[in-house]
Amino acid sequence: MGLRDDAVEKLQIFLSEHYQSSVKIKNFKKLSGGAIQENWGFQLTVDEGPSKGIHNLVLRCDAPSSVSASHSRADEYRLLRTAFDAGVRVPKPYIVCTDHQIFGVDFFIMTRMAGIAHGHIMTRGPENPELAYDLGRQLAKIHSLKPGLESLDFLGPEKGNPALALIKLYCRYLDETGLPYPALEWGLKWLENHAPKTSDQVLCHRDFRTGNYMVDDGKLTAILDWEFSGWGDRLEDIGWFTARCWRFKSPERSAGGIADAEDFYQGYEDESGYQINKTAVFYWQVMAHVRWAVIAVQQNWRHVSGVEPSLELALTGHVVPELEWQILTMIKNASKGVSHG
């Protein structure tokens, strides 16, 4: 989003009314990352009242190319608020605004957390089993949130069978491009043939992976990007986190490129008391690669169709062959009785 000249001024007036105090915004700058959403960092000085002081904050709003699957900023705020109240390590959410007169789009404001989230940097350093363990515990806390929560009623009811619901959705996304992808169809057919039953559905983050959490001095500071969350099978998040496609520079480290998956599983099991069926995780790792491939196809389509010409989107299309190869290899190995991601 191009920033209008008066956007910061209007935001300052809005925050002044919110805090019932004179306020001053400094260093309003767009932060890196975020093809779907934009994040703007700034420093807010509040002169009076209970919030008096200097606050480092982030304003999160839609980017020009948001995707239909993602929640509105108002709903993402509700998710973040619910997670924060449940003790999940997330940035503290402060204010949500759906009045487009202020910033042109919906936005919410949260604490700016210390650290970096860049997957390529995070997976280049030494192994960090403590971080993987902590991430396991945090994911277990997210999964302690179950259907029926009033604050998350906008998510709607649980799906009958989460795996089959996702397969149907991904088939629709492929159809919308109008192009044939037989390798992905075979992946989807395999997923359909092997779909597990899910007895208890939980809040799935749906983008819980390296690159979407912040780490400062080796320690987890915040879990980010709640725009795809919904009810589903807990193993969906576990498969997504441990899938090879999200290990960046260290594909041999099965916990998101930072450590061994056992460290992550241990944290999850210690927090939740739930025993992870590691064989069942394999299914959701295949699902993870199929999902990422479908998203990459969609992103590439946005470029080639002329909707949004972009080198970054075009290059994302070139991730599809490695995902197809991975899916087909995993399926082939599974038929031989070898199942690891």
Binding site: P180, A183, E185, W186, K189, P251, L315, P321, K332, S335
Partner: protein, 122 residues
């Protein structure tokens, strides 16, 4: 005869110049954008080296599907995609294994262009 207007040679030296003289001078977003340009150029370079990879794919699809009509590559892939979704290939059957090997072969060839280093790591 040496072709003085050889496109591949031009791309090679443009890539080399970008890597050697430009990327090191940049920082932040400009560096990221330039690395993306270099990555795109490397893909094109490998595409040129690989030649027409679609001939084999099309021939394999014809042998797999035995189509009566249109033998255009996109049409053939569409037919295969429709058959897979309809459940015409029963897992572990000979037909399914042949089809799966074909898909893996195509993915492998495309992978050599998009990201040839992918299979070297476990």
């Amino acid at each position: 005869m040496v072709d003085q207007l050889n496109g591949k040679a031009l791309l090679d030296i443009a890539m080399e110049t970008l890597k050697t003289n430009v990327v090191g001078q940049l920082q932040g977003d400009a560096k990221y954008q330039t690395l993306m340009v270099a990555s795109a150029m490397a893909i094109v370079q490998r595409q040129m080296d690989a030649g027409d990879i679609e001939i084999q794919e099309r021939n394999d699809l014809i042998s797999l599907l035995k189509p009566d009509g249109d033998k255009n590559l996109e049409t053939l892939n569409r037919q295969l995609a429709v058959k897979i979704r309809a459940g015409d290939f029963v897992e572990s059957s000979v037909d399914a294994r042949t089809m799966q090997d074909h898909l893996l072969n195509v993915a492998d060839i495309k992978l050599q262009i998009s990201n040839p280093g992918y299979k070297k790591i476990p």
